[in-house]
Symmetry: none
Subunit: 270 residues, 2 copies
DNA sequence: GGAGGCCTGACAATTTGCTGACAGGTCTGC
DNA sequence: GCAGACCTGTCAGCAAATTGTCAGGCCTCC
């Protein structure tokens, strides 16, 4: 893994003017250079300090504004606050792992491009990452120049729809029956009263909400919420569905929203 | 390199409805169901016939419309004519190489996403590819599922500026007589009133619907709905047909939609 | 070390579907 | 046109499959 790359190379990748002479304060330099493309913000969510430092450095040299989050929770928070142009996301994070970070962002309706950067190179991992809404997936060890090129490509691809519209970022709230779900705050109220859902319960609820009106098999729910594909052997999904019903349905024994479809799966109805 | 992948996996990558029961009618269904997501067109520019064939196959199973070009010049031409949603581009091409194809497309102002697929895995090659305007870069040997996931991600990312309105998954509804069937919700209404069908009944109804207008033998229905082929010894199919008639026909003794064809089987008529 | 979340596995409660027989229709050969 | 053979319609009960539910135990996080 070559974190050590000449600055000139890094600049070149971004297509900045590259006269090799400058060993001057690069950061200040690139900032003052009137880059035609207004400086984009990149959020790096990475718990390994060394790697985070290296990335920040490379990205700043390439002319980006960089923020670093050391764990999943602060990653989500900073993504909300900064509204970055791209997120570089490690999967192995303490606490909230990368998959969950990604899912949370997407559940909140954030379309920010996400590049997953991880040691997990199994094809299944990659497929899962893309399914959850990732835009690129780079495995360690990686070349910095390639990473920068991919970041550049992603930002290039997504720039035009960011500039024209200044999103007012309305809170995403879903309602059904006497329940309202604030997706970004991950809170649920029922008759105005706060209901506590566990993370899995909330994810499951969102997954059902996103598929409302359609029958969803346990397997699809497993993949969407738990992240793996396996023939359903245990009662995990059912257990959580039962818990959701208990917490959200007026009468858990006669559900009106979270319905069972025999031999197929579950279906959410508003 | 695993070109050989189960169809079910390939479908799953596109997020089509997927079910645990391996041989159940649901899987067969997905093939004929008009997928709500309008079929995207993928242009494959690849001179190796075997690889091109394999790609076309996988992509078609995944639900894409596929065009193949065997060299760079016809690749550019087809890109102009078809205006595809994505281009899979090999670099090593006879005549006009991939880089030049890419540059030509971009010079013409075509913003179509391009995924480079090549054996050249040097970082410098990748960086060059991205600089020329590629959106992704996959090196051989590659996993088909990963490639499909990347293609899906790219098309997902670029879909919105091709289709201005993002419709929230309109339900697929089939109608006949006074009955309407919502396939994805697995619900049936008759004169607007909800009719409860058991799983087998619903599957049988779908199977008949899919074969409307032509006679279907009990054996074929058995295979389609029950998943196994067996000479019909029991009255199973008939029983379920009777039940369907009772629930859906205005007069079950004089069916108008689910007709008996003597000594042959059944026929559905809208 | 405690608490909460999550999964597992068993048991109970439902729902579904198959079987097998009988009744009623339809067809074929005469 | 008739009789017998054959095919389809129908029914109800039991067996099997599926889901609801719960408590115990493992694990992670605080």
């Amino acid at each position: 893994m070559s974190i050590l790359v000449r600055d000139a190379d890094i600049r070149r990748v971004r297509g900045l003017s590259c006269d090799d002479s400058s060993f001057a304060p690069q950061v200040a330099d690139t900032r003052s250079v009137p880059t035609p493309q207004h400086s984009s913000t990149v959020l790096v969510v990475e718990d390994n300090p060394d790697l985070a430092y290296g990335l920040r450095n490379s990205l700043e040299i390439a002319g980006y504004t960089v923020a670093v989050a050391g764990d999943g929770v602060s990653g989500v928070e900073q993504a909300r606050e900064l509204d970055p142009d791209l997120v570089v996301l490690d999967l192995m994070l303490p606490g909230m792992d990368g998959y969950r970070v990604l899912r949370t962002l997407r559940d909140e309706g954030r379309a920010v491009p996400v590049l997953i950067l991880t040691a997990r190179g199994e094809e299944a991992d990659k497929v899962l990452g893309f399914r959850l809404g990732a835009d690129d997936y780079v495995t360690k060890p990686f070349g910095v120049l390639e990473l920068l090129a991919r970041i550049e490509a992603l930002i290039r691809r997504t720039r035009h729809w960011r500039t024209p519209t200044a999103a007012p970022a309305a809170p995403v709230i879903e309602r059904f029956g006497e329940v309202e779900v604030d997706v970004s705050a991950r809170t649920v109220r029922r008759q105005g009263e706060r209901i506590e859902l566990t993370p899995k319960e909330f994810d499951l609820l969102i997954a059902l909400l996103r598929r409302q009106g359609r029958v969803t098999s346990r397997n699809e729910l497993l993949r969407a919420v738990w992240g793996y594909s396996a023939s359903v052997v245990s009662r995990t999904v059912d257990t959580h569905v039962a818990e959701l019903r208990r917490k959200l349905e007026p009468d858990a024994t006669a559900p009106r929203h979270i319905l069972t479809v025999w031999k197929v799966g579950y279906k959410f109805q508003p």
